[in-house]
Symmetry: C2
Subunit: 205 residues, 2 copies
């Protein structure tokens, strides 16, 4: 396991993995840095450089065996296993996430769903029974869950994050439109559709 890989490189690997999986679905068995780069709109040199941090996965003259490269990237990203994920928030967005079928074959499985509304606690949501947010610590700790998704209003997000982290969570996907303050051994990714759209309006005439 090589050390000190730039985070920006790590950030591109899941995109490569997704594109490679799709190439495989389309029946391709081999690809090249040029082909992949063209699909993703990035340079072939960048792809080769990124991959070379982890080893030589290709062959001169022919390129990359897609199946093999997918396997290697899964290992690098540690998604050659299934991570249990906690979901906090059973509103519209939380429900959509709970029903989403796309986690399983990419390394994740929602393991429990929390909500703080007494009306919702005990109700079924897809395959889950909604648990009280009071039970976050107990459940997270017992199952050893390291990853959580936060899909609640901004006002409660920091408090919930603190509790998740206290219970052992080390990676948070935050849908609440607010920045979280977390210790440096905890990683956060943000999804806020408005932030993403505001980033594009600048370029509209």
């Amino acid at each position: 396991m090589p050390a000190n890989i730039p985070d920006i490189v790590i950030g591109r690997l899941p995109v490569y993995l997704r594109a490679l999986t799709r190439l495989a679905q389309e029946g391709h068995e081999v690809t090249s840095s040029h082909e992949l780069g063209q699909r993703l709109g990035i340079s072939s040199a960048q792809i080769r450089k990124d991959l070379s941090h982890f080893g030589g996965f290709g062959k001169q003259g022919t390129g990359y065996q897609i199946g093999y490269l997918v396997e290697q990237l899964r290992q690098v990203l540690k998604v050659d296993q299934e991570w249990e994920v906690a979901l906090v928030g059973a509103g519209d967005l939380g429900s959509a996430l709970a029903h989403y079928k796309g986690f399983g074959d990419r390394g994740f499985r929602i393991a429990c769903v929390f909500d703080n509304s007494p009306q919702k606690v005990g109700q079924r949501l897809g395959d889950f029974t909604i648990l009280s947010t009071d039970d976050i610590e107990k459940n997270i700790r017992e199952r050893g869950i390291k990853i959580a998704m936060i899909a609640i209003p901004a006002e409660k997000a920091q408090e919930v994050a603190d509790r998740l982290i206290g219970a052992g969570v080390r990676a948070i996907l935050n849908y609440a439109p607010i920045n979280l303050n977390v210790p440096e051994n905890v990683r956060v990714q943000y999804i806020d559709p408005v932030v993403h759209m505001q980033r594009m309006t600048y370029y509209l005439t």
Copy 2:
């Protein structure tokens, strides 16, 4: 309007804007690059440099008037107006987006919702009547819509994107787990929860 601002700078402005709005909600009237940087986990120098691309918004010794800075950033990002947004896909995720209350005061309003399922077309979804995807071109063009959200399966996403773009859309928020090929005058932002989580598992022990 200054030219040639790095895109990475543009990408941070919505995050600044969100944090400033929250500071205002909390009752602050003034802030500094240090305070804002601390909240966001970035350096004060970066914030000052980023803002300085667009003008001197602060005052030595005292910092930034939050209300004024919010106003200026909204202008820079062109979200001092309300953009009409088309939503394609009325599944779980599309429904969650259609019901989301957080667009309005940040510059966006969903204007129409499309789905290709005959069962759904004509049904109500929140304030909308679901339209057939066959009518995408007509509606987008008539209303002059420039922004769209795609919340459909990967298989149909490229085709829908092509049609949206053909009808005049110039910015796409893509929730489908696939890379889109678009002309260079069209901007795309990607939201794929799995990609975001795979970016974090690398760091988990």
